[in-house]
């Protein structure tokens, strides 16, 4: 049976951020910081890895130190959690425009997730001061690299920082307005806020589409400034949505286990599961489109990107000379494992697991998958960032620990912010015009 069993008064419940939740978040923070510090200490004393000649050619030496790893991992962690918040906002606005009413009961969770975006902005602003460490275009002087010089009009610190500040203002503004209208609806009721949200959603989606692709070029693609691919923004967007839906499902499951959200039924979980499934397939579609088109034409100005990531795949696939003449690509060999891991974890596994109707509505099955997918998309982002930011593959214990530390610390901050804002408002937007629809939500036969 679809319908969930709940008492009417549960619709007035509020989330309390205390006790177990608070304790766990603090534990997460402590473990994260300990890992982070240990990781830094371990890499601090490790011999500096050799200068990455392949990535930077005959350019002025740019030494890769623990600090390079620190900045790269910071960017990775900040972007990862930022994408979760941003994805939640896109989900809210998209369903609004599409006239979806089913998600009303879980919309407060999405709203809480968007609140993390402000914190991510702070992270990015801190990163403004570290651009020199990982961005080739930032530390190379003019006249060294002709191709970078040809793009200086875009790839310069002034424009980079300026355009990003504009994006943050726009996104922050939209998120602020959305949350304000939502809370206002709780207090006032009526259709006034409903009518205002529609133009807000349309405006957000349009500006988001343009700004997010520039954002992804700025922060991620420009790590390898010689490389270009027009699909890049879509690829980053697809990953964003999968990560965000995974976290949404995770939060629903956690809250339900702690006695909240009794009115959220299998149908809601099923639909979030469907989105996870759908966007995993979409992500794979974009992944394979980009790979196929570049692989097929084999034009060096594009292929070097994949040579770095799957160059070592000659071992994986038994080929012979995939990086013939590209002698130092064996140093990138370590990435090849993550490259194939990526498609298995982010497409094959969710595709097979989430395919059936029952699996999507059974948290026991989805729960482990969620962690796997979060790991997978961390890995995806890792592959987007690392070969460009730090060059050749380095899998030392210290590095791994540092990355784990970042992941856990940021997870603590993320959960802290999200759960805190979740506790600030009622869990059910009681005046939402779609509330009844959501309460009786059923996905039908499939």
């Amino acid at each position: 049976m679809e319908a969930a069993h709940y008492k009417p008064e549960q619709l007035n419940e509020r989330f309390e951020f205390s006790g177990k939740f608070k304790k766990n978040v603090i534990y997460l923070l402590i473990i994260g910081v300990v890992f982070l510090v240990t990781g830094i200490l371990l890499t601090l004393n490790a011999p500096a890895p050799a200068h990455d000649a392949a990535a930077h050619g005959e350019h002025a030496a740019h030494e890769v130190t623990w600090y390079t790893y620190f900045v790269a991992n910071f960017l990775l962690a900040n972007t990862f959690y930022f994408r979760i918040g941003m994805g939640a906002m896109v989900f809210l606005m998209f369903t609004w425009l599409g006239g979806g009413g089913w998600n009303t009961l879980i919309r407060r969770i999405s709203e809480a997730m968007t609140q993390y975006v402000y914190v991510a902005f702070v992270g990015f602003i801190i990163l403004f001061f570290m651009l020199d460490e990982i961005y080739e275009w930032a530390y190379l002087k003019e006249g060294v690299d002709a191709l970078i010089d040809a793009k200086r009009a875009f790839l310069n610190k002034g424009f980079f920082i300026g355009s990003n500040l504009v994006f943050f203002l726009i996104w922050g503004g939209f998120i602020y307005m959305m949350r304000k209208l939502s809370l206002q609806e709780d207090r006032e009721g009526g259709l006034n806020t409903y009518n205002k949200t529609t133009p807000l959603a349309a405006g957000f989606i349009i500006t988001f589409a343009f700004s997010y692709s520039l954002f992804s070029i700025d922060w991620l693609k420009s790590l390898e400034p010689h490389w270009f691919s027009t699909i890049y923004g879509v690829y980053v967007f697809a990953g964003t949505m999968v990560t965000s839906f995974s976290v949404l499902y995770l939060l629903i499951v956690i809250l339900k286990r702690n006695g909240y959200l009794a009115y959220v039924n299998d149908g809601h979980l099923h639909d979030v599961g469907k989105f996870m499934f759908g966007f995993s397939v979409f992500w794979a579609y974009i992944w394979v489109s980009q790979l196929l088109l570049i692989w097929y034409s084999n034009v060096p100005e594009e292929t070097f990107y994949y040579v770095r990531r799957m160059g070592g795949s000659n071992i994986v696939l038994g080929g012979k000379s995939w990086f013939e003449g590209y002698e130092d690509s064996h140093e990138y060999m370590g990435y090849a494992f993550f490259f194939f891991f990526n498609i298995i974890v982010n497409f094959v596994t969710p595709f097979l697991v989430l395919m059936t109707r029952d699996a999507k509505r059974t948290p026991v099955i989805v729960y482990p998958l969620l962690f796997l997918m979060l790991l997978g998309h961390w890995n995806d982002l890792y592959l987007l960032i690392m070969p460009g930011a730090v060059g050749k593959y380095e899998g030392s214990f210290g590095n791994i620990l540092m990355q784990l530390g970042f992941a856990l610390t940021f997870a603590g901050v993320f959960l802290g912010v999200v759960l805190n804002s979740l506790s600030k408002a009622a869990l059910v937007p009681k005046n939402n015009p779609f509330l009844e629809e959501s309460l009786h939500h059923s996905t039908g036969v499939v």
Binding site: V288, L291, L292, W295, Y296, L317, M355, G444, V445
Partner: protein, 179 residues
Amino acid sequence: MKSNLIVAKFWNPDTLMDALAEVHHKGIPVYDCYTPFPIHGIEQYMDIKRTRLTIASFIYGLLGLSAALLLMAGVNGGALDLGWDIKSWQIDVGGKPYLAWVDFVPIAFELTVLFAAHGMVITFFIITGYYPGKKAELLDDRQTDDVFIMTIDADKVVRHDEIKQILTEKGAFEVKTTA
């Protein structure tokens, strides 16, 4: 169609559902219902199990995928030998690897969908017994328009009059037994 059925006709799907709920509640097995459009939730009163066509479709899809991969790898990789001089060998096409796995993705996908879709639909027609030109067995010539019909196997139940009584009370505008 079976003969000897108790047939109850309704004008409204909600009435039919009310009557079905009552009949189901009384433990009377329903033979089948005939409606102009699908009614959600009707399965629970009729003990209809979820069809396994989805699983069949998955298996057809896997078949299509394997067929595609075997075909492409066999032909391009040069491993295919069907006898009667039908065989393949490796050809250098634009310097691409013989097993150009990235290039195999589109056709592998298309054949998966082709097999899954057609296999499933053909199986559907086989198990439902529909075929082009089949003569429909109708209980009422408006059952595909606006009449909702419930049938009960008269051989499997006793006290027919009582059942007919219930059905009439529940809003059936016509109750009869087919011979």
